[in-house]
């Protein structure tokens, strides 16, 4: 059976390859730090279970330190624009097809592992989505290598180019999940929940749903990221009140609650990669202001979608 262990093994080797390529890339001005960063992430993937909690914690602190010192991006490995345009002209619209392999296999693998006996023996049903996604990525790489015949090192070199473009932000979702866990253990959700339940009446379904959605958006604006807000607000209002007290459907409440948080992301300069980076890229004159043109363009949509989310959650999570 293919399990998460295999995914961690392949991901660990991928990150290790990225580390080695960076270490040997003289065009990256910060190649040692960048190589160490991906090397440590590779260590976590390959040997995280054997390191112990404290060593893993030190690894997280080291990753943060390296990210703060600054990672670099090498120039080696990028194919010239003309070569890509020529390749695009040669293969035509067929090129769109391999792009469908990854989502296709992820979806099919998940369903097969959940619905059939032979699928459950092939793919660990407990982690079907991630395992299937990794299988899809591998299959897409194999198809592309057989079809286009690039150099053998191309998958790793191209993957590393994109990974370095993502940079330290690659582990931010994982790190924010950890912060959520620490906040949860420290009782931050309870404290926020106590504050809200003390000052906001939550005794009807509509009020509870509105408080949860608006709280998600507001907390996301403070934290700059719905991922950090979700565990706190859901532990404070979502689980105990909207789901526990009023009987809302778990999947609908959580899915729409996260989307209410995304409305907050659209309105805050703290979501730097979405709202500040494009203002810089597009050379907007007000890019250094807190509410730059991109955020101002988004606020009306964000507020309207937030209102829509409240209505949708009220209707869809309480079908009776």
């Amino acid at each position: 059976m293919i399990t998460l262990t295999h995914v961690y093994l392949i991901a660990g080797l991928f990150f290790l390859g990225c580390a080695v390529l960076n270490a040997s890339d003289a065009s990256n001005p910060r190649r040692v730090r960048t190589a160490l960063f991906w090397g440590l992430l590779s260590l976590s993937m390959l040997a995280g279970d054997r390191l112990g909690d404290l060593a893993n914690g030190c690894l997280v602190l080291a990753l943060a330190g390296l990210a703060a010192a600054g990672l670099g991006q090498g120039q080696a490995g990028a194919t010239p624009q003309e070569e890509r345009a020529a390749s695009a002209a040669r293969y035509g619209d067929l090129l769109i097809l391999p792009a469908l392999i990854v989502p296709g296999v992820a979806l099919a693998g998940t369903m097969v592992a959940k619905q059939t006996d032979w699928g459950a023996r092939l793919i660990d049903p407990a982690h079907a989505t991630i395992v299937s996604l990794a299988l899809g990525a591998l299959l897409a790489v194999i198809v592309l290598v057989v079809w286009l015949r690039p150099p053998v090192s191309a998958p790793l070199r191209e993957g590393r180019r994109l990974l370095d473009a993502v940079g330290w932000a690659a582990i931010l979702p994982q790190a924010l999940a950890c912060l959520g866990a620490v906040f949860l253990a420290g009782g931050v959700g309870d404290a926020v929940g106590a504050l809200i339940t003390q000052y906001v009446p939550l005794d009807t379904r509509t009020l509870a749903v509105a408080a949860y959605c608006i709280g998600m958006a507001f907390f996301t604006m403070l934290m700059g990221n719905a991922f950090a807000a979700f565990p706190v607000m859901t532990a404070a209002i979502g689980l105990p009140i909207v789901i526990g007290q009023h009987g809302g459907d778990v999947a609908a409440v959580c899915a729409i609650g996260m989307l209410a948080g995304f409305c907050g992301t659209l309105m805050t300069p703290m979501a730097a990669n979405f709202n500040v980076v494009p203002a810089n890229l597009l050379e907007l004159p007000d890019r250094t202001q807190a509410l730059n043109g991109v955020i101002r363009a988004q606020i009306p949509t964000a507020l309207a979608v937030l209102a829509a989310n409240i209505v949708l959650m009220r209707i869809l999570a309480f079908p009776s």
Binding site: P98, A106, L162, F230
Partner: protein, 236 residues
């Protein structure tokens, strides 16, 4: 209430533009210290609490490794880019001969939502698509229709090009079952003893996706009218 200090650290960190990974680490340590602070606290208990927080951080990081396993797809996406997928995707969008800023951005919003829903979130993006393609195409459409653009109109169009990318991504990606936010919800609920299927979560993202498309497409339609308004007045 002392544990809310960790939240303050997050806010201060973002205001001061500290690296978010450092903010996360410091906020976790502060929260751990605040949670163990009390009348009986001694330097020894606080040091033990700091170590316990680091260990908790490490355990949680190890348990959540699957979130970063997603990056494996970069090898496949990178190969497709090498073969010219972006150029091809641009050609496909370029074939849509829409004559106005609003219509180009509505098409891009829809394409961005649909491709994100298929997990192809890296097909768009501000550096890859908006700056080289979507913003210039929108400005070009505005110039073709309205003549020379004022600086204010030009920057407004550019800001809307970036906004369409964000909104299309945010309200499309959650329909894909293996996106980080869906996995985060699943992980959080599992920590609380509730098992949900990623597919169930992603299905509930569809109504909001439709609402977001309708709302933002409506605003882009209004953008066309508002851009045409003042320009029509100054026309000879």
């Amino acid at each position: 209430m002392l544990v809310l200090l960790g939240v303050l650290v997050v806010v201060a960190g973002f205001v001061l533009r500290v690296n978010p990974l450092v903010v996360v680490a410091v906020a976790a340590l502060v929260t751990g210290q605040a949670a163990s602070w009390g009348p009986d606290a001694t330097p020894e208990t606080m040091a033990a609490a700091a170590l316990a927080t680091v260990a908790a951080l490490g355990k949680s990081f190890n348990d959540n490794r699957y979130i970063s396993g997603v990056w494996l797809v970069l090898a496949a996406i990178g190969l497709m880019e090498r073969a010219g997928l972006q150029e091809r995707a641009r050609a496909v969008i370029g074939r849509v001969r829409a004559a106005t800023v609003g219509r180009i951005l509505i098409v891009y919003l829809g394409v961005r939502q649909l491709s994100s829903a298929l997990g192809l979130t890296s097909l768009g993006g501000h550096a890859q698509m908006v700056r080289p393609l979507i913003a210039p195409m929108s400005e070009g459409a505005g110039e073709a229709r309205l003549g020379k653009l004022s600086d204010a109109a030009r920057y407004r169009i550019r800001a809307h090009a970036a906004a369409a990318d964000n909104i299309g991504l945010f309200f499309g990606e959650d329909i894909f079952i293996a996106i980080a936010s869906i996995l985060l919800i699943k992980g959080f609920l599992e920590q609380n003893g509730i098992v949900v299927e990623p597919l169930a979560l992603s299905l509930w993202a569809i109504p909001t996706a439709i609402a977001a498309f309708l709302i933002h497409a409506g605003r882009l339609w209004l953008l066309d009218r508002s851009l045409a308004g003042p320009a029509a007045e100054t026309a000879p």
